[in-house]
Symmetry: C2
Subunit: 340 residues, 2 copies
């Protein structure tokens, strides 16, 4: 069995080779600076085996999910990803092959997203695998897209399709056994390997008034955006983009539709923009090949406190939600599960 230092030298140091200030992972710390006129945008998120991914997930998918959920947050702020730190907390008994596959997953995503490992820490644990990533992006100083900038009357948009990941998890957990074949594979992939919108995010700077990534669930994340922006919002359920596989699984059942609207892990971008930006957004969607759908609009918040969110069905009737999304503990638990 390799020592901690041998594992770092063999599998992780090569991932840091392109960053001079990572010193080959042979120092206590790394250095990073934004380009002149830019600032660093930083985000950390940890994933836990058995909570954020099934225990049987392959090491390369664990690695890529850990990295990508952070890149998704950077994208939501309009920042370009550059580098990351990694805390890898694993049982002492893992085989060398596990680390090899984990590092290979990171290598693949470093290539895909143009990011570099610049430091990290490996620890042993008697418990489940935990992977914490701190990601660094770069944006023009003072120009990130905030959560709190939505104005009353803005249009609300979402990228890609929502609800897929929650359905995919259901397939993995065996609660959605009616889904099979290519639809099942598609949905499971959507759960396992997020596709952060790193190209679109920076292009939304100057167009979007507010943005958030859809990780807890569309309705829950819309609430986060509305709370900080102090606006109400209305979305039309029938405008919410669903993949063919999700449409087939939901089959017009409103309970299942609600599951899709509140299921987490899609890692799409939800953003607001003034109606006048619509044509530019359509143009961006075309040029980047990223589907963007208008799903509703914001309104003045009439009451103090909690913003009022309405999700209307095709007949204009408001849908009722037992829970709006995923939360790690406390009252609003709606566990990482497939739509009912």
């Amino acid at each position: 069995m390799l020592s901690e230092f041998e594992i770092v030298a063999r599998y992780f140091a090569p991932l840091a080779g392109a960053w001079p200030g990572a010193y080959g992972l042979l120092d206590d710390a790394a250095v990073i600076s934004p380009a002149p006129g830019n600032e660093l945008v930083v985000k950390t998120d940890a994933i836990v085996s058995g909570v954020d991914f099934p225990a049987e997930t392959t090491p390369d998918l664990i690695a890529r999910k850990a990295l990508r959920v952070n890149l998704s947050d950077l994208a939501a702020k309009g920042a370009r990803p550059r580098a990351y730190l990694l805390d890898l907390i694993v049982p002492g008994a893992l085989e060398e092959a596990w680390f090899a596959e984990f590092a290979a997953g990171l290598a693949r995503d470093q290539q895909e997203y143009g990011v570099t490992l610049i430091g990290g820490d490996t620890s042993s644990t008697p418990g489940p695998i935990v992977v914490a990533v701190s990601a660094f992006g770069e944006a023009r100083a003072g120009r990130i897209i905030r959560r709190g900038g939505a104005q009353p009357g803005d249009a609300l948009f979402v990228t890609g399709t929502v609800g897929d990941a929650a359905l995919g998890l259901g397939v993995l957990q065996g609660t959605r056994s009616a889904i099979s074949g290519p639809s099942a594979s598609f949905l499971v992939d959507r759960y396992r390997i997020p596709q952060p919108r790193v190209g679109l995010g920076p292009a939304l700077v100057g167009l979007a008034t507010a943005a958030i990534d859809v990780s807890d669930g569309l309705v829950a994340d819309l609430r986060h955006l509305c709370e900080v922006s102090q606006v109400d919002a209305v979305i039309d359920a029938e405008l919410v983009p669903l993949s063919p596989a999700a449409q087939e699984a939901i089959a017009g059942d409103s309970g299942r539709l609600i599951g899709a609207l509140t299921g987490g892990d899609d890692y799409e971008l939800l953003f607001s923009a003034p109606p006048g930006a619509m044509e530019s957004i359509r143009e961006l969607s075309r040029s980047l090949g990223v589907p963007i759908t208008r799903i509703g609009q914001t309104a003045s918040a009439l009451q103090a406190g909690k913003p009022h969110l309405t999700v209307r069905d095709a007949a204009g009737r408001p849908l009722a939600f037992a829970a709006e999304g995923w939360t790690h503990f406390g009252r609003a638990i709606c566990a990482r599960q497939s739509p009912a």
Copy 2:
């Protein structure tokens, strides 16, 4: 029970209040930039319950240890600490009081070290508590103290005293029951609550040729420094500074002395400097009130590969080590234990 969002709002957002770019922890990411001419120095380290601290450790001590072990690395690089990100992975059933005490510990250390929480993530786990911190410091561009800068003929120095923390852990684990009273309290405190040398570190820029913090054990960390610097080293065991409590516990027993030289968790600084810097270092020690002791020197590395480290006893005979320090997995395990 409070939700994840309520806990963040009540206990963690106040810790971020002083940093405009943390947006009250109400956004997906935070922004940070070094002052002109400076660069950011970044480090991440995670601690795990039952591995890096006893499961019965109070929340405020867990918080402070998690933060301080990272500040110690920044100090070793000569960087001034500024901010940090926090990943808090805890069982879902923790009481609100736990979070209150954890945050109070952070608040206390934010005051002490002038750092600010700028972002984080809370996750639930079926396993032990894990706290990962990514710390940000600042240093003049190109001026951090590296591990690899030691030159043959440099003097080797260590701050404070070494071996205390390992003895303190022994007291906690009941393997050092002969130690009691104020000595026991002192040693346990040395284990529980590191005192990172944040004042000294930046003052060593321009004096130290290489530095590392003593977290794995004095001999193991000296090896890390020598490996990257490509130098051999000799240290005199009787010059290694021991606290009165450690001297009493070791009582001239060479096995126990070896335990002190290889025990981890002291978070002192080990550094090299040319002999001509001696007077300036003495002056720094006096002005900052930080004990600094010369314990040996480096020499040219004669052979390729592993540097040759010699630890001599008072009679000039080399001491033999079964293991040089702590490592998380693999062959060189010497568990986080008290000196034998």
